[in-house]
């Protein structure tokens, strides 16, 4: 992957002794970083290590407190607000950064619309939008409004937006966090195509196998300090993880203790139909971790939302501990001990303008009432517990949640969901944007919950995660259950076969290739 020839190429973009503080709080300490044309340079580090801050500085969104940036060998001051795009520095933000009212084509060309005779050339923009979406194997109507798209499609639009620009440096902040394997592969093909053309790519991900596959060099940050920049060939996932968290990281996944096959079924879903899903049936047992795998948009979220009453069911029944239930509002499912954690933390999970405390307790405010009034000290205690349990790192409790690093937002949302002390927990992409160290913690928490006798559904697009955690795996495809895997069947290949429609439950023979 990496070769000597590449190291001789001069860097196109580099940072020299860059430091950054937000107010009094230092976030980056004297970082040196560079990226060369045609290479993929990955940045890894724990949540809050300063990765996003560093790439914001590299793209002009933030200005460094001290230090300098060089572009094409010239020391420059990058223009703010994404104007560095004109120089060829293109950034995909960590959080979705699309205007919900605009269409896909509008979004892809926002800020650099194509014009003819001074007027927008909408036909051409639509055509090019469709073309670039096609190279990404996404079939989204260029005229669809962003607010009708799924999170994954939105992410693909972001990627399309970025690769459709004339990038010389393409910086991607966790672009794969919401993507499943196949979308990730498509993205990697495109990245490879771009690097082959000499584009420099900076890539952030918490998925170490992706780093190993894609990156030429890796820079490791820890607590705002530069730990090392090394060629990928010299590394193994384990050694990267160790550099990241500063300690040996053994057994990412906790040992699976065998579920009790006689354990009572706590959640039974039969023939459930909802907006985008059809004929869904499955059982969830006490103490079980049930994985939901499938391509993006296969309807896993839709199932979860229909079960907890966030979306309307059109048919089918749900029984909880043998009792038929019909949740029409989330409050009912929460009261019944079923909690759902959304994958869309920015749009549905957290109030970005508010502090940690109101976010943590929003779902369970009534547990913090004393004589009918909110007891803030009880809320503070809850926050303290959650901060300790989920290792949430924030400057202080009043900082707006939108300012937390992505991973810490995710941990806060996990804390929020767990506050309701549910018996059945449905987690939608629970480790989205979380670093390996914390991932390990979360996996252990999930396993411990199951061991305690709770039941957990994990919806995840990360196959490794589903495989590493689940006792059984439901694979969905285009709104239906394609198959349910158990024990030794749970392998990457098998899941993908069902997910891609190569295999269907009932018939074991290949339907098509």
């Amino acid at each position: 992957m990496v070769d000597a020839q590449e190291t001789s190429v001069a860097p196109i973009l580099s940072a020299h002794r860059v430091s950054k503080s937000f107010g009094e709080i230092p976030v980056l300490f004297s970082i040196d970083f560079d990226v060369r044309p045609g290479e993929v340079h990955a940045i890894i580090g724990e949540n809050g290590a300063g990765k996003s801050t560093l790439i914001k500085i590299l793209s002009g969104i933030e200005q460094p407190t001290s230090g300098s940036i060089a572009f094409d060998g010239q020391t420059v001051e990058l223009p703010p607000d994404g104007k560095a795009e004109a120089m060829g520095i293109v950034l995909i933000h960590q959080e979705l950064n699309l205007a919900e009212h605009l269409t896909v084509a509008d979004s892809i060309f926002l800020g650099r619309e194509l014009k003819r005779f001074g007027f927008l050339d909408t036909g051409e923009m639509r055509r090019r939008a469709r073309a670039v979406m096609e190279t990404l194997h996404v079939s989204v109507d260029p005229d669809a409004r962003i607010n009708t798209l799924s999170v994954a499609d939105k992410q693909m639009v972001e990627i399309a937006k970025a690769i459709s620009r004339d990038a010389r440096v393409l910086i991607m902040d966790e672009p794969t966090a919401v993507l499943s394997v196949s979308e990730t592969q498509t993205l990697f093909e495109q990245i490879k195509r771009l690097t082959a053309r000499g584009v420099a790519v900076v890539f952030i991900s918490h998925k170490l196998d992706e780093i190993m596959e894609l990156a030429n060099r890796v820079t490791v940050l820890r607590d705002g300090q530069l730990i090392a920049t090394v060629g990928t060939q010299a590394l193994t996932p384990d050694s990267i993880a160790q550099m990241m968290v500063g300690r040996e990281l053994s057994n990412l996944y906790p040992p699976k203790h065998e579920p009790n096959v006689d354990a009572p079924v706590v959640l039974r879903v039969r023939n459930l139909d909802a907006a985008t899903v059809k004929n869904i049936s499955f059982d969830l047992r006490k103490g079980e971790i049930l994985g939901f795998a499938g391509l993006i948009g296969s309807g896993r979220t839709a199932v979860a939302e229909a079960v907890v009453g966030l979306a309307q069911k059109s048919a089918g029944e749900v029984t909880l501990n043998g009792e038929p239930v019909n949740f029409t509002r989330v409050a009912q499912s929460v009261d019944a001990g079923v909690a759902y954690m959304t994958k869309d933390r920015k749009g549905k999970g957290l109030l970005l303008n508010m502090g940690l405390r109101p976010n943590l307790t929003l779902l369970t405010l009534k547990n913090h009432l004393r004589a009918g009034f909110l007891d803030t000290s009880s809320e503070d205690r809850a926050l303290e517990r959650a901060v300790r349990r989920f290792d949430i790192r924030a400057r202080d409790a009043s900082v707006a949640v939108g300012r937390l690093s992505g991973g810490n937002q995710q941990k806060l949302m996990l804390g929020k969901t767990m506050e309701s002390d549910p018996d059945i927990i449905i987690m939608d992409e629970p480790t989205r944007g979380i670093d390996v160290g914390t991932k390990q913690q979360i996996y252990h928490i999930i396993a411990a919950l199951a061991a305690e006798g709770k039941a957990v559904i994990v919806i995840s697009s990360e196959l490794q995660e589903v495989i590493g955690l689940s006792h059984r795996v439901v694979v969905m495809r285009t709104g239906r259950i394609a198959g349910v895997l158990e024990g030794a069947e749970i392998t990457e290949e098998e899941i993908m076969r069902y997910a891609a429609g190569i295999k269907q439950s009932g018939h074991d023979e290949r339907i098509s290739a």
Partner: protein, 334 residues
């Protein structure tokens, strides 16, 4: 950089910026008071202060309701017309009950009950159309603003509805008297303000309002019954308009098609001067109180001097409103 876990929660919740934002309206208020003192030695007199506060109490009570509506991302343009209808109907009810109840407090209490009821009902109407009908709050309340205004004109037959004089004499003290030297309107305003502040900060309802105003989806996913909370804010607004009218009727003893004109704008202005965000998500009741007092003082100060042509009163008001908000936004960039 990041603080270790346990002491996050303990840290003081304020930085520098929230401070400016917090004290902004207070600074504006202090400056206005200084201006008042230099203009007239009677400015700080007991009479003047109680006058200003008592007459600000109607708008004040309404604006406290508006704080909740706006915090949860809504808007109510109908409050002024609603006040007129409530006043009109209250007066009609009282006049109509005199033959059976006689002159006295029983008539007045019945009228008060009617006022609060109508306020609540109007709030329910607004709220249902907005939450169940899914029509923009601006449109619904613009519509009901016209409807209420017409209704009072119709009830008054184009003229004025006047409360029977003897009843008015019994009722009058509710505006003009007080307890321990504090006029009742000020007391009621203070009670509503304290109650509002507690509800906003110390109850789930207040928290839910802010959550809904901040992001409706997040609120829904957090098991908040968005429609109900919204509905309640409009009902609360209606009831508080009713309470305000209970104090208004003994002062004016009449209602006509001009009663309460433009109160909605004044109430919204007070709310925003007080630091509540017009787009929702953040509200503070005490700020609204400061906003109301600022607006009340502007009018008072204009009467303390003879330099500014009365034609330019509106300009003075406009400038102060902008300055008051500029003070709290000072240097903020977000």
């Amino acid at each position: 950089m990041s603080v270790s876990a346990p002491d996050i929660a303990a840290k003081p919740a304020r930085g520098f910026r929230p401070d400016l934002k917090t004290i902004g309206p207070l600074v504006a208020l202090a400056l206005l008071i200084l201006l008042g003192i230099t203009l007239n030695e009677n400015f700080l007199s007991y009479n003047n202060i109680t006058n200003v506060l008592a007459r600000s109490s109607f708008i004040g009570i309404i604006a406290i309701g508006a704080t909740f509506v706006i915090t949860s991302g809504g808007l109510d343009l109908s409050v002024g017309s609603m006040a007129a209808v409530i006043a009109g109907v209250m007066i009609m009810v009282m006049n109509w009950l005199i033959p059976s109840f006689g002159i006295g407090w029983s008539v007045i209490l019945a009228g008060m009950a009617a006022g609060i009821l109508i306020g609540g009902a109007a709030g329910i109407g607004n709220g249902l159309m907005i939450t169940r009908g899914r029509i923009e709050a601006f449109i619904v309340t613009l519509g009901t603003m016209g409807i209420f205004r017409s209704l009072v004109t119709f009830l008054a037959d184009g003229g004025t509805l006047s409360l029977n004089f003897q009843v008015a004499d019994v009722y009058r003290p509710v505006y003009y008297d007080g307890l321990l030297g504090i006029p009742y309107p000020i007391l009621v305003f203070a009670l509503v303000a304290i109650g509002g502040e507690i509800v906003m900060r110390r109850t789930s309802f207040g928290r839910h309002c802010a959550a809904i105003g901040s992001n409706e989806q997040v609120a829904r996913y957090s098991s908040i019954n968005v429609d109900n909370v919204r509905l309640i804010t409009y009902i609360l607004q209606g009831i508080l308009v009713g309470v305000a009218v209970l104090l208004y009727v003994p002062r004016l003893g009449s209602a006509s098609s001009t009663t309460g004109v433009l109160w909605e704008l004044e109430a919204i202005a007070a709310v925003i001067i007080g630091g509540t965000t017009l787009k929702g998500g953040y509200g503070r009741v005490w700020g609204t109180v400061v906003g109301v007092v600022i607006l009340g003082l502007i009018g008072n100060i204009l009467n303390l001097q003879s330099f500014i042509s009365p034609y330019l009163n509106g300009a003075f008001q406009g400038v102060i409103i902008i300055l008051a908000v500029l003070l709290q936004r000072g240097g903020r960039r977000d």
